[in-house]
Symmetry: C2
DNA sequence: CTGAAAGCGCTTACAG
DNA sequence: CTGAAAGCGCTTACAG
C-alpha cells in the first residue's frame, strides 16, 4: 500500500555492547544475567554501554538457547466473559511476579488448536480455563510443558478448582433458608455438579426440584431464560443461576418484564465476578477464590509441581436473595 | 519442592523428521513452509513423519532466524475494565487472522515498562490502548517494531481512534433534546475532549455547564460520583458520564439511594461496551467502533503502514436517557 | 576474572 | 528437485 518503513537501524546485539564496553561478549551476558564472575569495573562499563546503546537482549535467541521463552500460556473460552476476563487479569499479574509474560489464547476454535499453538511457543507452562480432557493436554506433555487446569478439577491432570457442588449447594440452601419452596434452576441442560447440588438441596428440603430452565454460559442465554421465567404462570419464587453472567441476563429480562428482584423472584448465582457487585440488584453469589486459584496454579506451574486441589466457594450475600432490603 | 518432572522425551526436531522421512532437513522446512520446490512424494513422506512424530517447529528458533516471533503485543491499562476486555478479545481474534498470537501486557506498572517488555520479545507490532506519548514508544521504534495506538489519536504516531468530541457531543445533545436544562458531567477532572464537548453543547444550548462531578475511569469512582449526585440538593435532571464502567457505578449508587433512572436522572455515557446493554436500565451510550478500530490497527501493523485515522462514535439509544420507557 | 568457541533449531540462498 | 552449510543472537562450560 504505502511505502513500508525501511528496516531502520540494525538491531543492536550484545556484540555491539561488548565492542563499546571493550569487553568480550560473554562478559556482557554475565553482567546481564547477574553472574558473579565479573569485576565491578567491567560491570559498570557494560551497563553504561547497554544504556547508551539502548540494548535489549533478543528474546528469541535467549529462548532458543535456554529452551524457555519466559512466558506462560493461558487458554480461555474468551475474554468477553466477565469471569474469564478477571482470570486473565489475575494470570497476567501472577505471571509477571515470576518474570513471565502471558500469551492469551482463546479456545474459540476448540481447545485442541489453542493448545497446539501454545505447545510450539516454548511457553514455560499453560493455564487452561476451559473444559479439557487429559488427551487435549497430550501435546504439551510431549513437549515437556507443564499444564494446570483452572477452575475445575480434572482427573489425572494438575488442576486447581473450586468446589462447585458445595458452592451451589450453599447458594440453593440460602435461598431455601429465606423460606422459598419453589426454587428453579437456570443453567446448562447437561448434568453437572451445580445441578446435582440443586437437586440434592431441594430433595433434602423435601420439595420438588423444578423448574429447570436451560441456558448456556452467556448473558444472552441468561436473558432468554429470564424471559421464559417471567412468562411462567407458575413462576418459582427463587432461582439459582449457574453463573453471574447468566444471572445478569436474567436480571435484564426480569426488569423488562416488570418482575421485581428479590420481591417476586429471588436470585443466587455462581462465580463472584466483580460484575455481581455492580449489577442491580447486586447478586448473592457463590464466589470462586479466583485470585488464590490463579496464584497457586501459576506457582505450581513454575515449580513444575503436579497435583490436584479443590478450594471452597464462599457465599457472598447481597440484595438479590432478599437479605439486604 | 516436590520432585520436578524429568525432562521427558527429548523434543523432536526437524532433524528427526528428516531422518524418519529419509530426506534432508531442508526438505522438511520447505514442506512446512509451503515452498513449491518439493516433489509430491517427498511432501507426503515428510507430512507422514511429522504426524507420526508429533513434530512441532520450535518457535524460538524460527523467531531467531526470521526476526519475527509471529506475535503481536497489546498494552492495556488492565483487562478488568469492560471496554478493554472487549478490546483484548477483538485483538486476539484479529491477530489470529494473520496467524499471530497475542501477548497481553498490563500497564499497571506504567506504560514504559510494559512497552520495554514487549520490545525485547520480537513482537511484530504493538497495539497500545493506554495513554501514551511518542516518547513512550521510542524503544519500539529503535527495535524497528511498528506500534499503533488504539482508541485515541496521538500526534506523530500511527493511531486509530474514535472521535471523542463528536461522540460526547452527540450524547449530551441527545440529553438536551429530551428537554433537560441541567445536564451534569461525571468524568475525570482534567480537561479533555469529552468534557469540552459537554461544555460546548451546553453553551450552544444557552445553559450553564454544571455540575461537574470528578471521577476516574472505574466503576468504583463512578459509584462515588453517583452517591455524590444522589445527595445533591440541586441534582441535575441528566448526566453525561465519560465511560460505561463509570456509568454502571453511578447506576448502582442511584439505585441504592432510590433515585430513578431515567425518571429522576437521565444518563448517557460513552464506550458502547456490551455491558451497557445488560445493566439496568440499559445505557444510552456513544459507542466506539471497537471491532473496526482493532481490525484496522492490526492490518496496519501487519502492513507496517503508518497513519492516523479517527472514526466516528455512534450513539446507541436505550432506556437510560428516557427514550424507551 | 575473561575470551574463544560450540551449539540451541530453524530458514534459505547456493551448488549440484 | 535436493543437500550441505551458514548464520540468526544468545548462554555457558571450558581454557587460559
Amino acid at each position: 500500500m504505502s511505502e513500508p518503513e525501511t528496516s531502520g537501524p540494525r538491531r543492536v546485539t550484545r556484540a555491539d555492547v561488548a565492542r563499546r564496553a571493550g569487553v568480550s561478549t560473554a562478559a556482557v551476558s554475565y553482567v546481564l544475567n547477574g553472574s558473579a564472575k565479573v569485576s565491578e569495573a567491567t560491570r559498570a562499563r557494560v551497563l553504561a554501554a547497554v544504556a547508551e546503546l539502548g540494548y535489549r537482549p533478543n528474546a528469541a535467541a535467549r529462548a532458543l538457547k535456554l529452551g524457555s521463552a519466559a512466558q506462560l500460556g493461558l487458554v480461555v473460552p474468551g475474554v468477553l466473559n466477565r469471569f474469564f476476563a478477571e482470570l486473565t487479569d489475575l494470570a497476567e499479574r501472577a505471571a509477571a511476579t515470576h518474570g513471565l509474560a502471558l500469551v492469551v489464547t482463546s479456545a474459540r476454535d476448540g481447545v485442541g488448536p489453542a493448545i497446539g499453538r501454545l505447545a510450539s511457543r516454548q511457553v514455560d507452562g499453560v493455564l487452561v480455563a476451559t473444559g479439557v480432557t487429559a488427551a487435549d493436554l497430550a501435546p504439551l506433555a510431549g513437549a515437556g510443558i507443564p499444564a494446570a487446569v483452572l477452575d475445575h478439577v480434572v482427573e489425572g491432570v494438575t488442576s486447581i478448582g473450586v468446589d462447585r457442588y458445595q458452592g451451589a449447594r450453599d447458594a440453593v440452601e440460602h435461598l431455601l433458608g429465606h423460606g422459598h419452596r419453589r426454587v428453579g434452576f437456570v443453567g446448562p441442560d447437561e448434568p453437572g455438579r451445580r445441578r446435582q447440588a440443586w437437586t440434592d438441596a431441594l430433595a433434602a428440603a423435601g420439595v420438588a426440584a423444578e423448574p429447570l430452565v436451560a441456558a448456556e454460559f452467556t448473558r444472552g442465554e441468561g436473558y432468554r431464560a429470564g424471559r421464559a421465567l417471567a412468562a411462567m404462570p407458575d413462576r418459582p419464587s427463587a432461582v439459582f443461576v449457574t453463573s453471574d453472567d447468566q444471572a445478569i441476563g436474567v436480571l435484564l429480562a426480569l426488569h423488562e418484564a416488570g418482575v421485581r428482584v428479590p420481591e417476586d423472584v429471588a436470585i443466587a448465582s455462581f462465580d463472584g465476578s466483580q460484575e455481581s457487585a455492580y449489577c442491580w440488584p447486586p447478586l448473592t453469589t457463590a464466589a470462586q477464590p479466583s485470585e488464590e486459584m490463579v496464584r497457586i496454579a501459576v506457582d505450581r506451574l513454575v515449580a513444575r509441581e503436579p497435583g490436584q486441589l479443590e478450594l471452597p466457594a464462599r457465599l457472598v450475600v447481597r440484595r438479590s436473595c432478599g437479605c439486604t432490603p
